[in-house]
Amino acid sequence: MLEAIARRRHVTHPTPESLIPLALGTADPATARHVEACATCQTEIERLQEAAGLLRGAASLERRIATPACLDELVVADFVEGRLTPESRAPVVAHLLTCARCRSVVKATSRLVAETAVAAQAPARPWRRWSVPLGLAAAAAIVLLLVPRRGDDGTPGLREPTVTSTIAPVPIAPAPGASIPRVDRLVWSSVPGAERYRLRLYDREGSTLWTVEIADTSVGLPDSVRLLPRVPYFWRVEAQAEWMRWTASDLIPFQVVGPPR
């Protein structure tokens, strides 16, 4: 892995990419502590920031205006959820690279999904039938009393996501770091109340090789997925324990040592 190689070569410095969050705003305290005392990394960060500034400068040339080529909300939803195949993603990516408006829709949708997941979990009250627009105002006025008020800090009133103690599924086979003759099935622990699980298999570059959603806690590897021997792969499983809320396992590295299947 690149990181491991980088660590061997620069024993005392953080990996180059771990400077990125620090250069652009956030970082873990350990990296920050190192950089504070390290002139080499500080110089590196300044150069990264200079390049990032150039990228940001392009914003002055962009318009946030809708065109007929702009993405449909169904496409935006699929993109945000990471559900597009590389083929169907290509035209979407090409458009997003040129369209500040659609990128803002993607960003907002992604953020809203993350933020409203918690607010949406509270049980809803039974609601009488009503018609638009007359009944709407009355009914909605009632609802307004039920939704959270504005925060005291002056921010608009969606609740901050609260920390919940949802359990993540635990990968069982292939086990972390396993070198095994072949992989026929992937198995993980069940999560109480989980409606379904989503499994992803990655290659060493981080590209998704295969993804599947299933209600069971194991799944057979289809013939279409060929794993090469002595090449690192990774898998991860997520459980949907509550509506719109996924909990993910750790990323599990493994490799096969047998002949290719």
Binding site: L2, P16, E17, L19, I20, L24, L48, E50, A51, A52, L54, L55, R56, G57, A58, A59, S60, L61, E62, R64, E73, L74, V76, F79, V80, E81, G82, R83, V93, L97, R103, S104, V105, K107, A108, T109, R111, L112, V113, E115, T116, A119, W127, R129, V132, L136, A140, A141, V143, V147, P148, P156, L158, R196, R200, G206, S207, T211, M244, L251
Partner: protein, 256 residues
């Protein structure tokens, strides 16, 4: 399974609507309140969302229902729709008087900037050129960027601030970085050359994370990367490529 789809397909759209709104009203309100703290705005936009989803015999809901399956959470589509309707509502419908109220508090020059950038959705460069040519303003691009920053800060404060922020592209954090549109154009040519070799997915990851400031984990999810670390890795590579191109072109940090 979405419980409202059955009645919709069985020809009882009102029953479907009851179930739909029962399930999603909190989500819709939550999404709208993310943009505006004004109770009147929230109610008006909520009414608009209901109106659009119900119009033409529930066309929009039907179209989405046809594609809903266990792999496609309906809610993600719905928040995208609510986002677009909220922004459109503020810009096109009753929004104008409300936006004007924001502009009314600004100095004259900033009012014009607000008009060009927030209402007409022009680029910063275009707004600058219009200010100089049409409004006869005489200021440098650097000064313009400072005015733009002030306008942006004023317009995006307050109870409607978040929705206004969605109408315009944020000004650069340090307005001193480009003091002339010509320099900016030259920089962008170099930038395009540096990014040529980077695959489109990775280029988009860099754009979303660095420029649009989308959280790395959300970028990773959209692009199917295993984790935020992959985003950092791609960003590092892109920034290194940009740096190499700059050095090749003989541009030092101080020149930018």
């Amino acid at each position: 399974m979405e419980s409202w789809i059955g009645p919709l397909e069985a020809g009882d759209p009102e029953a479907a609507w009851d179930r739909f709104i029962e399930r999603y009203k909190r989500l819709i309100f939550g999404a709208i309140r993310r943009y505006t703290g004004e109770p009147d705005d929230v109610m008006d936009v909520f009414a608009r969302v209901c109106e659009v989803l119900r119009e033409n015999d529930f066309t929009r809901l039907r179209r989405c229902a046809a594609r809903v399956d266990p792999d496609r959470p309906f809610s993600t589509w719905l928040v995208a729709v609510v986002h677009n309707l909220t922004i459109d509502w503020f810009r096109h419908r009753d929004g104008r008087p409300r936006l004007s109220a924001i502009a009314a508090t600004l100095p004259r020059l900033q009012q014009r900037i607000f008009e060009y950038v927030f209402l007409q959705q022009r680029s910063h460069i275009e707004a600058y050129e219009l200010l100089c040519s049409r409004d006869g303003a005489s200021l440098s691009f650097g000064e313009f960027l400072k005015e733009l920053s002030a306008t942006y800060a004023a317009a995006t404060a307050g109870r409607r601030g978040r929705v206004t922020a969605e109408l315009a592209i944020a000004p650069p954090a340090s307005p001193d970085s480009a003091t002339d549109p010509a320099v900016l154009a030259e920089q962008q040519t170099l930038l395009a050359r540096a990014l040529e070799t980077i695959p489109p997915d990775d280029r988009l990851a860099v754009q979303l994370y660095v420029v649009d400031e989308m959280p790395a984990d959300q970028v990773a999810r959209a692009l199917g990367y295993p984790s935020a670390k992959t985003v950092y890795n791609r960003v590092y590579r892109a920034l290194a490529a940009i740096r190499a191109t700059l050095e090749q072109a003989g541009i030092k940090g101080g020149d930018l």
